[in-house]
Subunit: 479 residues, 2 copies
């Protein structure tokens, strides 16, 4: 709320437009970040009566305390052969809506009973802006296992996992509107505080990763959108539904209305490089020197290959208990070579996900990248091109998610008929394109073959090895 | 020769003994370091006529240019089912006598024909000291595939590998005498130069690693002698012959007369730690801090395991093309934890070799360690104890190989009847003993199980992966 009040007037001022030229507003937020609210949309954590109770507060997307609930929900879904699992690559995450809601139900029934809704922060902020409660299809689909065709998983299923949890939809609602729908207009109180007109249309909420797709100018199949920063979110949109293993989710209307949105990702990217600087080099300033030295190396020259599982594997193994590995170390291996191997492992991880899509019939003809690392590391962009054999386009615009959210705001305001026209009209003109070096690709094909075999070996066939190593570590640290 | 002339008088002086109290002399040298000599024992490299030819010079033990010859010899031996291979764990090394001799034969036939002998440096220095050519059983057995029972591999075998190479023994000789035999007495010229009497007995030559066994006080089975420095040489002696896979060699009279000597080893130990300091930490002075931090960690706490193959695997895989690997890396992994994982990998590698011996019926009840790391790293010694469950004894004496060589000199001089009596009389009294922590061992048993599975997987079942990675590296660097 503070950010809205401070940032909105600043942005309008910096843009050099008159306040009355602003006709629409779009919002994006992390997900699944959820909070319990009253029927009037008041967060329980703001009420004196509840603020001392931890479950009254928002649960941040990356909080993993609901892992046991997720494990139970997965186990029961598998036993019952629940078909909804196929939309989520065979497994749901502890970061999602129902694990968090059931954790609340199990641990603080009073808060559970007291709240009228348990709502995504993106929907809540729209509610606060407009006074209208309006939930959208994207988070319902990606995080709450809802689909426009099948609705929620059955009450029988939830009851089988958690007897007594027999009204799964009571805190979620049952109406979800498409992205770009106008939720309402600015409440007078908010309009006044931010210096905009009450007539400003506000689109239903959106989510930072997915909204990058329109923001970057992608409106159809064939483009692999890579948002690369501390981690990677990969997205594609396609007119058809393909259920494929390992994907985070396949959700109708989840990214762009009328299309199936596919999400995948890598759990540690910038985070892994930051780890290397902080813990191995112990020199936060070594980044430029390492990047420069790594850029001078030829494919395959390091003799190294790494499995990029420093924070588990999100896609396609969906296994948070995997850990990273480096192979090929020798007495002449340099710090810079290890750094290069980490960069290559990011690219190989990405290719592995693309292979998974293509092996299930979803052709990806180009990569479109954005995010901090797309802007800062030409080397990683070139590696994405060289390992995959695809063109990599990096549009020369910043704040891609904000752009995407703004496009939905414009649709809500009626400036465009639909998001497709909005994307078409605003697609970034300046693009830096990285072209694959086919000689490099030949060598990388050989290294990737090794990567992929190790991936299968340690991620599937012999998955017990890394799991046991982590289990021992956890036990020893607790002891 | 310079060292002998300078060091001998110095040592006598420092020892505070009169020159005439010195009655015997023993020598140890690296092996297989070999050189071509005339029938009078003159190295060809000292003759004006030949000194410009590289093959006239000594070939240092660790020179690997004869690898293609070793590969060919191994291949033909396997095809023909040559039983001598079993004495060498199934594979001979490019560091050994015949690969080096045949390399010479192939590349410079004139030098090959010109030299009368191609001789181990340890035997040559004894020849120079005494004027008597006298070769011993140890290097003949460990490095020239000779055995007292079977002699050399057959001429048919050598001819099958290298047609025309039909006198395998002509540069080696066919008489090999037991260790401790008196080769002769000091030549008058040498005696004068070093200030000792011509009556000083000189024992036949010995080799630095094996001579550590008597030097450290071991004279029978059950003790696992670990010489730990840049690499590890492991030795045991036993009255019986057991042919077992992966061992470097099993040689009758090879370490102590009358017993079978077994040699095994790890290719990178101190070298691997020096690599970490130089290339990863980039701080040669970080050793003490890393060792101290590593010493504070509990078993299993790092969540890491490493395969200690930074310079290939000597025993039990005998594969120079393997490379190192680290597993279990995460965003919280510290530099110190990686260092500890390397130390643990040294201990696991050692346990793997001991397991191999014990699985073939050779019981090892204790570890006796010497060498730079045994003196400097109590942590590694404790890890050897904790991972193996055995007592580790580190005698508090220095220059163990020189002690061992001196014992053989004393036997040659008749001071002792045999090496057994010499060992008995001089066994080090002060010993630091490391006792296994059985709680730690319980955890290490679990981590070792993971280590051993990864070892099998990457060293055998899927050995093509690391080989291909190295092949790509070699090709790219040559390109």
């Amino acid at each position: 709320m503070t950010v809205v009040e401070k940032a909105l007037p600043d942005v309008v001022k910096q843009a050099g437009v008159a306040a009355d030229q602003v006709v629409g507003l779009g919002v994006d937020f992390t997900s699944c970040t959820v909070l319990p609210v009253t029927s009037a949309g008041v967060p329980l954590c703001t009420l004196e009566q509840w603020r001392a109770r931890r479950h009254a507060w928002p649960k941040l997307w990356k909080h993993h305390a609901a892992q046991p609930v997720a494990d139970r929900l997965n186990e029961v879904a598998l036993t019952r052969g629940e078909s909804f699992l196929e939309r989520y690559g065979g497994r749901i995450s502890s970061e999602w809506y129902f694990p968090k809601l059931i954790e609340l139900w199990l641990e603080d029934r009073e808060i559970y009973d007291e709240c009228d809704g348990f709502i995504e922060a993106t929907d809540w902020i729209v509610w606060w802006l407009t006074g209208v409660e309006c939930r959208q299809t994207a988070t319902a689909g990606f995080k709450a296992m809802w689909s426009p065709d099948d609705g929620l998983p059955s009450t029988d299923y939830f009851e089988a996992a958690y007897p007594g949890f027999d009204k799964p939809g009571e805190k979620l609602g049952d109406t979800f509107v498409p992205l770009g729908t106008k939720a309402g207009s600015l409440r007078s109180e908010v309009a006044e505080r931010v210096g905009l007109s009450e007539s400003v249309a506000v689109a239903v909420g959106n989510v930072d990763a997915w909204v990058s797709v329109p923001g970057i100018g992608v409106d159809g199949p064939g483009s692999y959108v890579v948002v690369i920063g501390t981690s990677i979110c990969d997205m594609i949109v396609h007119p058809e539904e393909t259920r494929l293993p390992g994907v985070t989710g396949v959700v109708k209307d989840g990214i762009l209305p009328g299309l199936y949105g596919y999400e995948a990702g890598q759990a540690a990217v910038g985070d892994m490089l930051a780890w290397f600087l902080e813990h191995v080099a112990q020199d936060a300033g070594a980044y430029a020197q390492l990047e420069e030295a790594a850029a001078r190396m030829a494919p395959g020259e390091t003799g190294l290959v790494a499995l990029d599982w420093w924070n588990g594997n999100r896609t396609i193994l969906a296994d948070a208990d995997l850990t990273g590995a480096i192979f090929g170390l020798g007495l002449q291996t340099t710090r810079e070579q290890i750094y290069r191997a980490l960069l290559e492992s990011i690219a190989f991880g990405s290719r592995r996900i693309m292979d998974n899509f293509e092996e299930h019939g979803l052709v990806l003809s180009e990569i479109v990248a954005c995010g901090g690392i797309a802007e800062r590391s030409p080397l990683i962009m070139q590696l994405l091109a060289d390992t995959s054999g695809r063109l990599v386009h990096v549009p020369d615009v910043s704040e891609i998610p904000a752009r995407g959210a703004a496009l939905f705001g414009a649709v809500a305001a009626g400036v465009f008929d639909d998001i497709g026209s909005a994307i078409e009209a605003t697609r970034p003109k300046e693009v830096r394109t990285y072209t694959p070096d086919l000689e490099a690709k030949k060598t990388y094909d050989r290294v990737y073959e090794i990567y992929r075999t190790l991936y299968e070996l340690l991620g599937r066939t012999e998955v017990g090895l890394l799991h046991e190593l982590k289990r021992i570590r956890t036990e020893r640290r607790e002891a």
